[in-house]
């Protein structure tokens, strides 16, 4: 088996790339979620400008390819002086704009997940809260969000899983993720196919493991309800 031979010789590259992919996806989902929650609340608010902004933002991000967004952020934000250093083998000058672009992208999807999670909470719950004189914000914070979070967290877990695959576009900006390292291995072995099999297997394993984690987590959330 050519793949096994290549993996045992070049496993350091694959593992380094995998680490980068997982770390970048995780950071992206964290920032994307924070931004996404804010967007969802804007989207649900009765404040016209906030609502319109969120609506447009979500439409634009979901309506354009991630790779295009990546290049636009990279060139548009080139006035920022990113720290010239490496962390976990990642060149921050290239990685940070990618994380910004990916977070912006992810936030639009998370915003829709959060909105759906909030809207899935029975309207009677907020009416009951309003009927005892609680404000809109108090109702959201004390009654709606704690119930919505049970719908939202598993969905965000799935967003993380999606991100692991989506991040593969950052290789085009020279960020040393799994796909980028896959490329390095190919240039030194002159044999692309086994490397792609290895890389595909790693992505698949990550997805299966994370997916299992999300399922278990979801079950625990359901149990806690009782």
């Amino acid at each position: 088996m050519k793949s096994i031979e290549i993996f045992s010789e070049y496993y350091k590259y694959f593992l380094r790339g995998t680490r980068a992919t997982v770390v970048i996806s995780l950071i992206t989902v964290i920032f994307g979620s924070i931004l996404g929650c804010i967007l969802a609340l804007m989207r649900l608010s009765k404040n016209k400008p906030a609502n319109t902004f969120a609506r447009m933002y979500i439409a634009v991000i979901r309506g354009t390819p991630l790779l295009v967004q990546l290049y636009i952020v990279f060139f548009q934000l080139d006035f920022i002086s990113y720290p010239k250093m490496t962390l976990l083998g990642l060149d921050l000058e290239r990685t940070l704009p990618c994380i910004i672009a990916l977070s912006i992208n992810s936030s639009a999807y998370v915003a829709e997940l959060v909105r759906a999670g909030i809207q899935a909470v029975d309207i009677g719950q907020s009416e009951a809260a309003r009927s005892i004189g609680m404000s809109e914000a108090q109702t959201m914070w004390n009654v709606v969000l704690p119930q919505a979070i049970k719908n939202i967290l598993p969905a965000i877990g799935n967003e993380f899983i999606t991100m692991i695959k989506e991040t593969s576009v950052i290789q085009y900006l020279g960020v040393a993720d799994l796909m980028y390292n896959n490329g390095i291995v190919i240039t030194s072995t002159y044999n692309p196919l086994p490397s792609y099999y290895i890389t595909a297997t790693i992505y698949l394993l990550l997805n299966l493991v994370m997916g299992r984690g999300v399922t278990l987590f979801e079950r625990r959330l359901q149990k806690n309800e009782r």
């Binding site: 009927s131 005892i132 404000s135």
Partner: protein, 250 residues
């Protein structure tokens, strides 16, 4: 005898449309302190909409609602303040699923009335005693029967020390054997002097507990009177029709 009692709710020419659909077509009602006004009428006649306009869960399309002389629709009045004094009990209970029974009852008092947690809890336990559910304090709503949920929903509203209580078919989604326990809590409440506005199909309750009965049909109050007047000597044909239909149904 009731001329000098304070007016709690004054409803004038209340109208409510949902788009094309005219649901309330000019409802007038006056509720004085200590009144138990029971609203009866066929399904779809606008009873729930009427109740929901009173605490502005629905925005009225026209007319005026004065609660203790304050216009509930005026932007000068803080609706959240006014709602604190108007308890509401829903057909579907709507206990907060994420909170224990005790937390359901103390949420409003601590967040809105700004009571200290210990004080709110003590008050909640006393209220739970009055409905015989003290031992349920630390469990979640999903573990309660319908009758227990509704008694706790009543307690949750009472914890705000309201001046009036609105009930929208509080026993309609209960199994028959649980209706009595909820009606008896409501009867006790009426006897304690609480001002109440109750939508119900429980004619026994209307007959024996109401001070006034209102028959509503097609978005209008057709007839209003004492239970004796409405049940024994209805004047309007539509009232007679409705009463004869429900008496054969039971």
């Amino acid at each position: 005898m009731n001329a000098d009692r304070q007016t709690v709710l004054e409803i004038k020419n209340l109208r409510k449309d949902f788009g094309e659909l005219e649901v309330l077509k000019g409802v007038d009602a006056t509720i004085k302190k200590g009144d138990v006004m029971v609203v009866i009428g066929p399904s779809g006649s606008g009873k729930s909409t009427f109740l929901r306009c009173v605490n502005r869960l629905e925005q009225p399309t026209g007319g005026q609602i004065l609660f203790e002389d304050q216009d509930i629709c005026s932007s000068n009045n803080d609706i959240n303040k006014l709602r604190q004094k108007m308890g509401m009990v829903f057909q579907q209970f709507h206990l907060f699923n994420n909170l224990t029974v005790l937390e359901n009852i103390t949420l409003g008092p601590t967040k809105v009335r700004k009571l200290k947690p210990a004080e709110a809890q003590e008050q909640a336990m006393q209220l739970l005693d009055t409905v015989g559910l003290r031992e349920k304090a630390s469990i979640y709503p999903s573990q309660l029967s319908g009758g227990q949920k509704q008694r706790i929903a009543i307690v949750r509203a009472l914890a705000m020390k309201p001046d009036v209580m609105l009930f929208d078919e509080p026993t309609s989604s209960l199994d028959p054997e649980m209706v009595g326990e909820v009606l008896s809590v409501m009867k006790d409440l009426a006897e304690s002097g609480m001002t109440m506005l109750v939508v119900t199909h429980e004619m026994g309750f209307a007959r024996h507990v109401a001070t006034r009965v209102v028959f509503m049909d097609d978005g209008l109050i057709v007839e209003e009177g004492s239970p004796e007047e409405i049940f024994n000597h209805p004047k309007r044909l539509r009232t007679k029709d409705f009463l004869s239909k429900i008496s054969t149904a039971f």
